[in-house]
Structures are given as structure tokens and as C-alpha cells.
Symmetry: C2
Subunit: 542 residues, 2 copies
């Protein structure tokens, strides 16, 4: 027997309709590629998204067609989030940090029909335009006056012409909530990129869960500046959560340096931001150097990779900005955990609180977590046992786009490739990527702990810990370090810094100083490249 | 083309699984019918719910069967919430304030198979046990030592025996999320009661929405005492939201007097409560008389009927307890709106903020609202135009149980029977029930405004405003008042009290003082009974 409540599919367009009807006057502020500040409202966003939906239909975009973007965080990108998915087409956010060859490969694999791009990516578009196989039109996200004077791009259209040429009357269609809504490729350090194809249902449930008080805690009183890009895992879902709750949105465009971000935080009264640790490093350096502070920022969500404890302390203790550590993956839409302390933890001394905050946090409702040993058996939640992390839930991937890579699931759970502990309060901490773990004499050494200690040294700008071959122990930790400008720091200084902070046998066997550590398209350290580079490194005493 | 995320139905059992795995140690405290305090945890709740699920199967309860409860707020009732719905059966919460004839009528209509009851309702059960047609077993929610010594109830079972006799191993079944989960009858002032049959999907989406920061804002840091009964509209969904978020629950059992509630607030560190205005009146009277305060309570959710402004001021200004005005209906699962101010409203002077807080609030995401005129056309959101309120959303009723009363919808919207305004910020205010509105010379007078003014008079305990017949104006307002004990208050005093507070022609034509105003089973004033009582009242000067 079924219940007798209304049957309404969970559709992304409903977010926009709600924002227009109940938060019509709320602002959306964007720093544009051109450098100026642009202001609009949810009411205007909704009207322009409907115009764009009409334009997409006119361009021949049909249900299920992939429409690609190569764009920064801004209002036009947000319009496409709603116009494309709301129409029943699939928004495919391309990562502009990829090599042109990869962009071509992904666009072909996705069979993109139309590609929208910010003017900063004109050179990239020119490099790929005659190589991609399925794209019928390229749309420059600008107005007529700023269109490129001459270009070899075929079928080049102007975004504002498309919007202006259409009516703002458009009825968002109703369809099955399992319909695909958007597509994001993982940056895969090995093999070809693989696509995560989200549905309206998975996105809507993720939006509900991500806005909860013990997740990202999003409400109409917030002014959100997502530094995390809309071109990667939907800016952690914030463009959807903002519409659901009527929060003010502030978009930084391409200007992600510390000075530009801080200016925007202050001028727009930003209360919450979100990004990866590397971005915050630039911001903190700027704020420190200019002796500035944060007058409205109350918290920042940090994910993508673990937040170094030193960064957490700087934000919280020096600038009174609470850090919310969160964890997710492209395959999780992306949110899996958020590190919101439980009441009994709030009452702990500050050092103990910080130790908990360094963990990735507890499961957001909807996602279940477990860790398993080599035999696949679930390990206890005791904060000590460490095993491969598996997840499941209605916004966790079942298989990759087009079935690439076969069935990734293990008994209905998705193996994350992370190694983690879970404590008795349910707080998960990633100790390593399973492929980065260092296997020394049959025991595992977590590289992230070793990196965090190095990062806490005032002379270290960036540190990666990788496995180096060892004749007796198979593998031993090798620390690869980028010094801060003008920092004097020796191998001995750094090794001594580990004393008393970690089991003696975990101490790296060696330190090498480098000019830079290779970063992937989403800002993560590419340790596979380092391993390749230091494949023949001989450890002292080995 | 569908997305490729995991397919997991939204099932109520997932709330319990989450609470056990991630908030296992969190407390659930109940004042039992016996008067003592009982403590348990989510871990224990989950284990006992699984035992009860096994017991239900043993009793022959199958998917879709209705299992009734006649019970106060307590841990055993909570176990049934999960054991019954989680098994795929339908939890039918009966309202013990109904007349035995109505209980029989509703139990027969619902075709209840088993009835669980708290010992306080033994006399009611004895009155109906041999009259109900489908109930095969009655279960007293107590242990063996407290079982009634002798009774005429056939097939009387003991709750704790059932739990003790079963294994705590039970795999919650997976089924279609549209499956019916629970059933609640409206108390219908006219005609037979009608059932609202909720589904797992509608309940889960309602739970997500109700826990959002701009709705009831439920998180693990809260200690929630729901005064609003679990026997009516699922205690506004709090038993579900608590499990979703790992909040501590405190249940008052049958002890709803001001003294008992206040004791529990203080001893258990309650941070948030929820109930109808009549309950809070008793609480405030007790706190005032005993010169007490609230040391941990930070907010109270008030719904069921409009919160009188005087009560709101008392809570906020005298006791520093924020009032969250909310609105819902049995047919809405029940949440529709919550009165959480927007940032620009937070900056207003306190009098202006109070005027907004007196409204029922803005739409919780998922519910859409509109007001329509007599011609069915949508009226503007200007805070002035007043029309019938219609709602829709995935937890709004599509039709009543067994199709009773035919199709209630108008173009896909559910007509609430309320008359309301909606302002430019989206804040809805109920001005009347459409059947209670007073039609004076072709213009509408809202009875709620007039009642609120009377309630603000220090000598008034309760006030109802009804339409009385008038030869010239058709209807004019008649105020029916219960004086506070020992208050000296005349008709003239009260009429004078309206001066300057309202348009002169809205002033009631007459005042009558009564000993009591009839309340329905959910604590609402039964104005239809008053209208009957004063049908032949002759207004002065008429």
C-alpha cells in the first residue's frame, strides 16, 4: 500500500523556482573576467535562466544532450547550472586546468553538443575547437562588445545575444527525477578520466543533506563565497544549497589570489567560504603580510585535501574564523563527512578540540561509512584500526559514465581508495590514499601525518611524503619539501623536528628539497609523479 | 538518460541505522507513565526496535497492516515509530483525547490489527476493546510487574515480554519508498475524521527539510523536548529529525503541566521545545508564579494555532527564549512554514521584528505557497491582499485515506482552509480559518487579530472571536472571553482596550464572559461549538 501524498519528482529547477518566489530580492554578486563587479538577484537569475533555456532549445539541445562549460565561478555559469539541467539536458563542467589533449578527449567522450566558455579560456578553445568531434556551437560568455574580433573558432556565439534574443517565459519540464543532470570527470592520476553522472534526485538529496546544521549549515543569513570551482564537483554543491536556502552568493571569477579574495570578503560581507588548503595558504599569507583581519567571515569550509593543523590554528586562533573540515569526492557529489563537533567534544580543552577538528568528520546523514581490513571485514570504530574506507548512499556513484572501468562496487559499497580510521564518536580520519601508503616491513606508515608535521615547521611551504625503495624494509618514507622564500632549513633541522611528535620508526629516512611539487588539475599534489622522479633515490644507510 | 548514482529508497529505517552507527551513545530520556525517569541511548533504541520488529512479525503483522498506538511521548512509542514503519507496516497514531465512539470509528476505518497503549489509557481501551472489529491483540506498553491484574480486554499482551522474547537481529527490509509508513486522522470539526497516509518518501523529505537551519534547525548539539504529541502528526516530525541528526531527546510522558515540564527542562538541559500555545500558557504561569527561569532553553517552536504576541514577548523579553513561530497541518506532514527572519529583518527595531515574528513565516523548501481570491487567481505577495492559502509539495496530501471526501486538490494545489496574506519577503500570515472569517457588510474581518488583542489584556485567560448574526451587516464580531482567576474585567474595559489598535469598524460589537471555551482533541478552540452556542445572541444596537 502506498502513501497518499503528492507525487513530485525532485528536480533541480525547483530550487530556482523557490529562490525566485521566496528570496527574489536576494543578491548574487560576481567579480567578472573583465574585473568589474556585477550584481543581480535570484529573481533576475530565474528570468535569465529561462531565457537561456529557450536559447538552448533553439540551439537544438535536447533531453540528455551534454552541454559543456569551461568557466569560472560567476552568475552566467550559475544560469547555465539551472538552464541546462532544468531543461533536462546534462551540464558537463570541464576543468580548464587540464591539458588541451585531455579537454579534447573528455569532450569527445562526453559527446558534448555545445560548449560555453569564459573569455579567459579563448586560447584553450582556439587550441581545441577544430579537434573536438561533437561540439556544434561555441558560446563566449560575454556581451557583443567584448566578443573576440577575429578568431578561427567555428560557430562562435555570444552569450548575451542568446539571452537577449529569447523570451523569459519557459515552463520547466517535469520528468523522472533519476534523469541525469550533470557530469564531472575525475582527474584520474592514472588511466583515462572517468565521468560521474549525477541525477536530479542525487543532487537534490545531496543539497538537502549539505545544508543541514551539522553539515555545511546553509541558511538565508549567510553570504557564501565559494572559492571551490563550479567547474569541479559543482563547487561542493553550494550553488544548489544557496538557492534552496536563499543565501547571498558572491563569486570571485578568476581572481583567486589572497588580495582579491580578501577584498571581496570585506566589501560583500562574506560570512562563509569554501576551498582547498592551497587557496587558503595564499589568503592567509596576504592577510598576514598586510596586517588585515576578517570583519564578517565566521567560518571556512576546507576540503579537497586535509587541512594542515597549522592552517587551522591560524584561522581559528589568530583570525577568529572557524574551520569546518569536510571530506568528499567527485564520486560522492561530493559531500561525505563534515567535522562538526558533538556537544561533549565542545567542552574539551582547545588542544583536544583541535585534534578532533583535524579529522575529516562524521557522516553527513544519507552517507554511510565503514572501514575494512585486507580480508574485507569491517573494522571497529575505535579511532585506531585503520583500513580502506567504503561509502554508500543515494548520492554515491554506482558506476562511471558509460560503464568505464566496470563495476566499482564491493557488496554495494564504493571503495574510496582512502585509508582511514573511525572513532567511537563516528569521526573519520583519512590517514592516507591507499596507493600513497608507505609499507615498511609489513607495517603501514601514513604519509599525511608526516606531511602535516613538516607543514607545521615555519620554514616549510609545501611537503609531500612518498615511499622510497629500501633493501631491508621494502619501503621507507622520503620527505620532499619546498622551502618558504628565504627560509634557511636543513635536512637535519627537519628530521629533528619530528622528535617526540611521532613513533620513532615513522620518522622519514631522508629529506630532499625541491623548487616545486607538481599539482593536479584540482590542486592536489601528484605524488605519483614524485614517486617516478625519486624512483632511484638512495636512502642514507640503506 | 539516467544518472549513475546508487539507487537507495528513502526509508525511515535508515534514520535508526544512522543514529545507531554514528550517534550510538546519545541519550533518550523519558518521564514514564509511572512517573519515574528512564534513560536509554540510540544504540539501545535500535536494538529494541529490532526486537519489536521481530515481535510484530510473530504477531502476524504484514506489510501494509495498520498497527495503532494510544500513547504519550516516550521511548517505547519511539521504538514503535521505527519498528512498525521500518517493517513496512503502517503506524497509526490514535488520539487519546477523542471520544471512545470516535476511537472505535477510526480504528475500524483504519482496520487496525494490533493496538499498543500506555497504561493511562486502560479505561479507554476497556471501553472500546469489545467494540473494535479488526484488532487482534492489545499490547500494554509496560513490563510484567505492572500489567493490569484483571481486565476484560481480550488478547492482552505485555510490551516488555514481547521485546524480551525476541532476538535483536533483524534486517530492515528494503521496499519502494512510496510505501505507506504512517497514518494520522484529522480531528475534523465537521463530518467524519479523515486519514492522512504518509509514505516513507514523504516522511524522509519532510525530515530533511524540517531539520534545515531556516526550518526547525535540528543538530546533534540540541536537546529536544517535544511537548507536541507523538499521537498527532508525528510530533511535528521531531522523532525523525532527532534520529537524522543525533540530537538528544527528552520525553515528558503524560506530565504536561508547567511544573513537570519546567523540572525536565532544567534537569535534562533542554535547549529546544515544541508545542501549542495552550501548553506554554501553563508553563509560563508556573515559571512566573515560582519566580523561576530557563537556564538552558534557547528557543521554543510554537504552532498548532497562532502564538499570541503577548506570549511571544514574555518568552523573548522576560526569559530570553526565542520563539520560532511555525505553521503546518496534518495534511502537510505537518511542516509548511517557519518564521525565521531574513538578515535585513534581523536589523530592524525590536517592535518591527516582533510584528514579523507574529506571522507564520516563510515556506520551508519543498513546500510552495500561494493565496488566491474568490476567482481562483493568485493574489500578490504584498502583505495586504488576503485570500485562501493553497500549498503543494512532496509531503502535502494528494487525497485522504481510502479516497474519503473525493479529490481535495485544486489544479494540483491543496486548499488549506486558511485565509492568509503573504508579504514581499515571502512571510505568510494566517488571518483566519476560511470558515471562521467574519463577513461584515461584504468585507472580511479576521477573527485571529481580534483574539490576539484580547489575549494581550492582562485580565484575559482565553478569547475567541466569532461571527454573530446582524440584521444590517449580516455578521459582526462577538468576543467570547474566559477571565483570568480573580481578574475584574468588564465588557466596557475590553472594548476600550481595542481603541487605537485596530480599524474602528473591526471592533467587536459585544463581549460575553464564559467559564471555558471548548477545545478539540488537538487543543484548538472549537469555534463551531461557540457559534452554535451563541447562534441566537442578540448584539446591542442591532
Amino acid at each position: 500500500m502506498n502513501g497518499s501524498m503528492m507525487q513530485q519528482p525532485l528536480l533541480i529547477s525547483s530550487l530556482l523556482v523557490h529562490a525566485e518566489r521566496h528570496h527574489g530580492e536576494q543578491e548574487i554578486v560576481s567579480r567578472r573576467v573583465e574585473g568589474d563587479i556585477h550584481r543581480t538577484t535570484y529573481r533576475e537569475l530565474a528570468a535569465r535562466s529561462r531565457r537561456m533555456a529557450n536559447a538552448l532549445a533553439r540551439l537544438g539541445v535536447r533531453r540528455g544532450d551534454r552541454v559543456a562549460t569551461l568557466a569560472w565561478n560567476g552568475y552566467r555559469h550559475l544560469e547555465l547550472y539551472y538552464a541546462v539541467s532544468g531543461s533536462g539536458a546534462v551540464l558537463h563542467t570541464l576543468n580548464p586546468r587540464l591539458h588541451p589533449d585531455q579537454v579534447v578527449w573528455i569532450a569527445d567522450h562526453a559527446e558534448d553538443q555545445v560548449l560555453f566558455f569564459d573569455l579567459s579560456f579563448l586560447p584553450l578553445i582556439e587550441a581545441v575547437a577544430d579537434r573536438v568531434k561533437t561540439i556544434k556551437a561555441f558560446v563566449a560568455m560575454t556581451d557583443r562588445t567584448r566578443m573576440p574580433a577575429s578568431t578561427a573558432i567555428p560557430n562562435l556565439l555570444c552569450y548575451e545575444d542568446l539571452v537577449a534574443g529569447q523570451s523569459d517565459v519557459f515552463d520547466w519540464p517535469t520528468f523522472d527525477e533519476n534523469t541525469a543532470s550533470s557530469l564531472c570527470y575525475t582527474s584520474g592520476t592514472t588511466g583515462n578520466p572517468k565521468g560521474a553522472l549525477y541525477s536530479h534526485r542525487s543532487t537534490m538529496l545531496h543539497t538537502f543533506a549539505s545544508a543541514l546544521p551539522d553539515a555545511l549549515n546553509i541558511s538565508a543569513k549567510e553570504t557564501i563565497l565559494p572559492v571551490v570551482p563550479m567547474f569541479h564537483v559543482n563547487a561542493w554543491g553550494l550553488p544548489y544549497a544557496a538557492c534552496m536556502t536563499g543565501a547571498k552568493l558572491v563569486f570571485p571569477g578568476p581572481f583567486l589570489d589572497g588580495k582579491s579574495l580578501h577584498e571581496l570578503f570585506e566589501s560583500e560581507g562574506v560570512t562563509v567560504s569554501a576551498g582547498v588548503p592551497t587557496v587558503w595558504q595564499g589568503l592567509l599569507a596576504h592577510v598576514e603580510a598586510s596586517n588585515a583581519s576578517f570583519s564578517t567571515m565566521r567560518r571556512t569550509i576546507i576540503g579537497g585535501s586535509a587541512c594542515p593543523p597549522a592552517m587551522m590554528r591560524a584561522f581559528q586562533e589568530r583570525y577568529d574564523v572557524q574551520v569546518l573540515h569536510a571530506w568528499g569526492m567527485t564520486e560522492l557529489s561530493p559531500l561525505g563527512t563534515a567535522c562538526v563537533l558533538k556537544p561533549h567534544q565542545q567542552r574539551l580543552a582547545s588542544g583536544q578540540r583541535l585534534a578532533i577538528q583535524a579529522k575529516q568528520g562524521r557522516a553527513v546523514f544519507g552517507v554511510d561509512l565503514k572501514i575494512v581490513g585486507d580480508d574485507g571485514q569491517e573494522l571497529p570504530h575505535d579511532g585506531k584500526a585503520s583500513g580502506e574506507l567504503l561509502v554508500r548512499g543515494p548520492w554515491v556513484i554506482r558506476e562511471y559514465f558509460k560503464g568505464e572501468g566496470g563495476d566499482p562496487l564491493v557488496d554495494g559499497w564504493f571503495p574510496t581508495g582512502d585509508v582511514a580510521t573511525i572513532d567511537a564518536d563516528g569521526f573519520m580520519q583519512i590517514t592516507d590514499r591507499s596507493k600513497d601508503v608507505i609499507k615498511s616491513g609489513g607495517e603501514w606508515i601514513g604519509s599525511i601525518d608526516l606531511e602535516n608535521i613538516a607543514m607545521a615547521h615555519p620554514g616549510v611551504a609545501m611537503a609531500a611524503c612518498i615511499a622510497a625503495k629500501h633493501p631491508k624494509w621494502d619501503e621507507r618514507p622520503l620527505l620532499v619539501v619546498v622551502r618558504k622564500p628565504n627560509a634557511e632549513l636543513s635536512r637535519g633541522d627537519l628530521l629533528q623536528f619530528y622528535e617526540g611528535k611521532i613513533a620513532k620508526w615513522w620518522t622519514p629516512d631522508d629529506v630532499v628539497f625541491v623548487e616545486g611539487i607538481p599539482l593536479g588539475a584540482t590542486g592536489k599534489m601528484q605524488k605519483n609523479k614524485l614517486r617516478e622522479q625519486f624512483r632511484d633515490h638512495s636512502l642514507p644507510g640503506a
